[in-house]
């Protein structure tokens, strides 16, 4: 089984802001959108060493999410890191560590994944909070409702030239390798769920193997290369996903 994690919370709510805790930060806010999308080398840097809270705020209907992915979370090792949200009951702390020392995942073991056991519903705000005193460099922070894909038949991996790149819209992505995953017996409902993931063909997203059953690296930052659907019978589909893994350095 693996999970597809998109930045669905942001895509459905539409507002990403940086605050210092109490007030909206405007002096270093200009790169906040780098955290919502794009290649891995894009980032935000705080102008001062004060606290920063990166928020996805829903101005629309409340959202559901169960996963938060922080790219290059090794930059926050030893710092005060927490993930909080606000739902229809009140504020919640979902993850908190005064001296961040989580086991990181991904090909270079630099990314952090928070995965809830049950999805958090009716959420109007998700917050990635950094409280220690340091200049904060933050790469992508995704919050979304993951989709679990079971019945994995197998996979293949092949490297590509370092010059390989793909354009999605106007954004260029450098590619490290291609991963093809074959899945059988997928229901129409799950097919619909995958197809309706926001910007699945327009933005990078993550594939996550929480237990490392298939991939020791557990997490890959990818873009979709193909249209994976092939129908076998009613309510029974075979999929052959082809993912292009975004460039990483060993």
């Amino acid at each position: 089984m693996f999970r597809i994690i998109t930045n669905s919370f942001f895509e459905n709510c539409g507002q990403a802001v940086m605050t210092s805790g109490g007030s909206f930060i405007d002096f270093d806010n200009n790169k906040t959108l780098n955290l919502t999308d794009g290649p891995r080398h894009l980032y935000y840097t705080s102008a001062t060493t004060g606290d920063r809270r990166f928020l996805y705020k829903s101005t629309n209907a409340p959202q559901t999410y169960d996963a938060v992915v922080v790219v290059n979370a090794d930059l926050h090792n030893g710092r005060d890191v927490s993930i909080r949200d606000t739902d229809n009951i009140g504020d919640n702390t979902r993850f908190s560590e005064a001296s961040f020392a989580q086991t990181l995942v991904g090909p270079t073991a630099k990314d952090f994944v928070y995965l809830a056991t049950t999805p958090h519903e009716n959420v109007t705000r998700v917050e990635f909070r950094l409280n220690s005193s340091y200049i904060k460099t933050i790469h992508q922070v995704y919050a979304g409702k993951s989709v679990a894909v079971a019945q994995v038949l197998g996979y293949s991996r092949t490297p590509v030239s370092r010059l390989t790149k793909v354009f999605i819209g106007r954004q260029m992505y450098q590619i490290q390798e291609r991963i093809t995953i074959d899945v059988e017996g997928v229901s129409d409902e799950l097919m619909q769920e995958i197809a309706s993931l926001p910007r699945i063909r327009k933005s990078p997203f993550f594939i996550y193997d929480p237990t490392g059953q298939w991939f020791s690296e557990k997490l890959f930052h990818v873009v979709m290369e193909n249209n994976p659907i092939s129908k076998r019978f009613n309510n029974l589909n075979d999929l052959s996903f082809s993912f292009l893994v975004l460039r990483y350095e060993r």
């Binding site: 197998g154 293949s156 991996r157 059953q213 690296e217």
Partner: protein
């Protein structure tokens, strides 16, 4: 031991690289040529060395290693009247000390049918785990001065897939037409002259071994050595190769089939 891959583990993480003659540091300009590159690249000293010791030394953060490879070791022995005794030494935190192990001389593909290969491999008796430096010291005991040339010095942590490679027939290198071509590695910028290719398949490779293989530094950028110490696959034991590409096919969570295409580097007299 089965067929192992010998990448330049220390070369990829080295914080310093020294060549010393009787403990006086010499030559800085061309040292990078012994870390990576083709067999045509040499580190070359300004003058010959006589009646002295000569060391090639890597300094690195503590890292495990098992083998040391010297490409074109034959050039160090010119003129042939030179008598030298190689010693491998390492520093595990309390100074340089001799490392127990065995030398395998005159191995590597005999490209010119001279009856012997051009390279040397040293295998440590036990894997080294905490060394911060490793060196090849050449004690010049008698004879004419050494030419002081070497092509590559690799300090390698051997990688094995944990299973024997699968060959339906005797492994055969496919020579390229017109004597070869140049090849730019998938993740590299420099082109290498290559002359033949060989595809090798390992089946039932564990997930951990797949991850270990893919984590080899500069796997798709730098040449590495294939070492068959029992000469079970290659009679000449050693191949100096580039990884052209590979594929990992997995139909069970626990076991994968890994297929790697190697390119043999051009050899020179």
């Amino acid at each position: 031991m089965s067929l192992v891959l010998l990448p330049n583990t220390y070369g990829a993480i080295a914080t310093s690289l020294l060549v010393e003659v009787t403990l006086h540091t010499i030559i800085q300009g061309s040292l990078d040529r012994i870390v990576s590159g083709g067999r045509q690249d040499f580190m070359s000293a300004m003058t010959n060395v006589s009646s002295s010791n000569m060391s090639f030394r890597y300094g690195a953060a503590a890292a495990p290693w098992t083998h040391m490879v010297a490409a074109r070791y034959d050039r160090l022995k010119y003129p042939v009247s030179s008598v030298l005794t190689p010693v491998v030494r390492a520093n595990s935190g309390s100074g340089m000390a001799d490392v127990a192990g065995s030398f395998d001389y005159d191995i590597g593909f005999d490209y010119f049918a001279a009856g012997r290969g051009q390279d040397m491999v040293f295998t440590a008796d036990t894997p080294r785990t905490v060394d911060v430096a490793a060196e090849l010291r050449l004690n010049h005991t008698s004879g004419d001065a050494l030419s002081k040339q070497i092509s590559k010095l690799y300090v390698s942590n051997a990688f094995s897939f944990g299973v024997e490679p699968e060959f339906i027939d005797e492994p055969t290198w496919q020579e390229m037409s017109d004597g070869g071509k140049t090849f730019k590695p998938l993740h590299g910028w420099m082109s290498y002259p290559v002359v033949a290719d060989l595809t090798v398949t390992w089946r039932d490779v564990t997930r951990a071994k797949v991850a270990e293989f893919m984590a080899i530094k500069h796997l798709l950028r730098w040449p590495l050595f294939l070492y068959d110490d029992e000469a079970a696959i290659f009679p000449w034991k050693l191949e100096h190769v580039l990884v052209s590409t590979y594929s990992v096919e997995c139909s069970s969570p626990d076991f994968a089939t890994v297929t790697v295409t190697f390119l043999r580097l051009e050899h020179y007299r």
